[in-house]
Amino acid sequence: MLNIVMAVMRRDLKLAMRRQADMTAVLFFFVIVVSLFPLGIGPEANLLRKLAPGVLWVAALLATMLSLPRLFADDLKDGTLEQLALAPHPLGLVVLGKVLAHWLVSGLPLALLAPILGIQYDLSTDALIVLTATLLLGTPALSGIGAIGAALTLGVRGGGVLLSLLVLPLYIPVLIFGAGAVDATVAGLGAEGHFSLLAALAFASVGFAPWAAAAALKIALE
């Protein structure tokens, strides 16, 4: 069981390391979007502090969207996906491995970059820590839910745009609790409630989404 998850994850990580341009493009997109907002809004520190959680979280959602279309598309094109679907273990575990690898190369670096970008928005140290923590906890859910969208739009015309249409509404709870936790900290309130809900969302989506995505992949392979 665990073997196959680890094997898929290791393979995807190795591939990502050989194709670092993809990964860095997503990170630069995140950096640029976050840095553009102050130029559009103005440099007033109070306003920026208020906007920071929302801006960083929305930028993280968009950056994740950018990396999702390729989650299965390369494997479909070169025939690897067929082989994975024919291997003698549940396809859901394969997808779980891919989701974890996706998180390690997109969600995790986004979360680690966030505090540096948060400084641009004059966030306090506490808020920066909470921001990073929410991203660490919330981005696995983004990868999980995103995998369903990527599988559903696999090989479909206009897949990229369609993917955002399907997935972004489902990201709303993660956005609300993620940005909400930082907001609550900035306002001096506790964020424990947000954290437990975020963790619940992350566990639920990483646990269930791979199976839904696997069902969608089987349809795409017919």
């Binding site: 690897t80 067929e82 082989q83 024919l86 003698p88 017919e222």
Partner: protein, 203 residues
């Protein structure tokens, strides 16, 4: 062993074939023949469980093609090579075997690559290989493959004549070990071992 009954295939709006059935025993080889668009690839995808048939049934030793027991016995080689351009032939071979839930030592893998004529290129990323060489990387999987059912879609495409003969021998050895194989091909191939059968689609 492998038995198909009354298979019907509808793709999009067209009925590709109906009433297709066959039985394949140990040591037997089935050629699927038919014009382009007759449904050869669709039938193969039905046999390996990717495409559910419109009606009819397929069983392999009592298992349905979508079961894990079936997939544990199956080795499939498709149109696409299922190799990654960024990985070397050696890595590709080892990865594909691991992901299929089997084990292969590095020595065996190197031996397989040597047999397909890729000695000296084991550590070169596959994007620097020619089409024929990439095909050979995919075929190297078959060298130490001991699962009883091989389903091969156009395995001889992009191979030169010596490689075609080598692959024919490999399939022959598989049949002699008591394996079964289903394959599509456009070119005449000389496989002497085992019993040969033929299924003509769209006749």
């Amino acid at each position: 062993m492998l038995e198909a009954r009354d298979l019907v295939c509808i793709r999009g709006e067209r009925r590709l074939f109906a009433g297709v059935g066959f039985r394949l025993e140990e040591g037997e080889l089935l050629y699927l023949r038919g014009k382009n668009g007759a449904g050869k690839t669709s039938l193969l995808r039905m046999l390996i469980g990717l495409l559910p048939p419109e009606s009819g049934s397929i069983t392999w030793r009592g298992h349905a093609p979508r079961s894990e027991a079936f997939r544990a016995d199956l080795c499939f080689l498709g149109h696409a090579n299922a190799i990654k351009e960024e990985l070397t032939p050696l890595e590709n071979l080892l990865e594909s075997v691991h992901l299929a839930g089997e084990s292969l030592s590095e020595a065996e893998a190197l031996d397989a690559l040597e047999q397909v004529g890729l000695a000296g290129r084991e550590d070169l990323p596959c994007k620097y290989l020619s089409q024929g060489q990439k095909r050979r990387v995919a075929l190297a999987r078959l060298v130490h493959e001991r699962r009883p059912l091989w389903v091969l879609d156009e395995p001889f495409v992009a191979l030169d004549s010596s490689a075609v003969a080598w692959l024919a021998d490999l399939i022959g050895a598989h049949l002699q070990r008591g394996g079964a194989a289903v394959l599509t091909t456009h070119q005449p191939v000389d496989i002497t071992a085992g019993t040969q059968r033929e299924l003509q689609l769209g006749a």
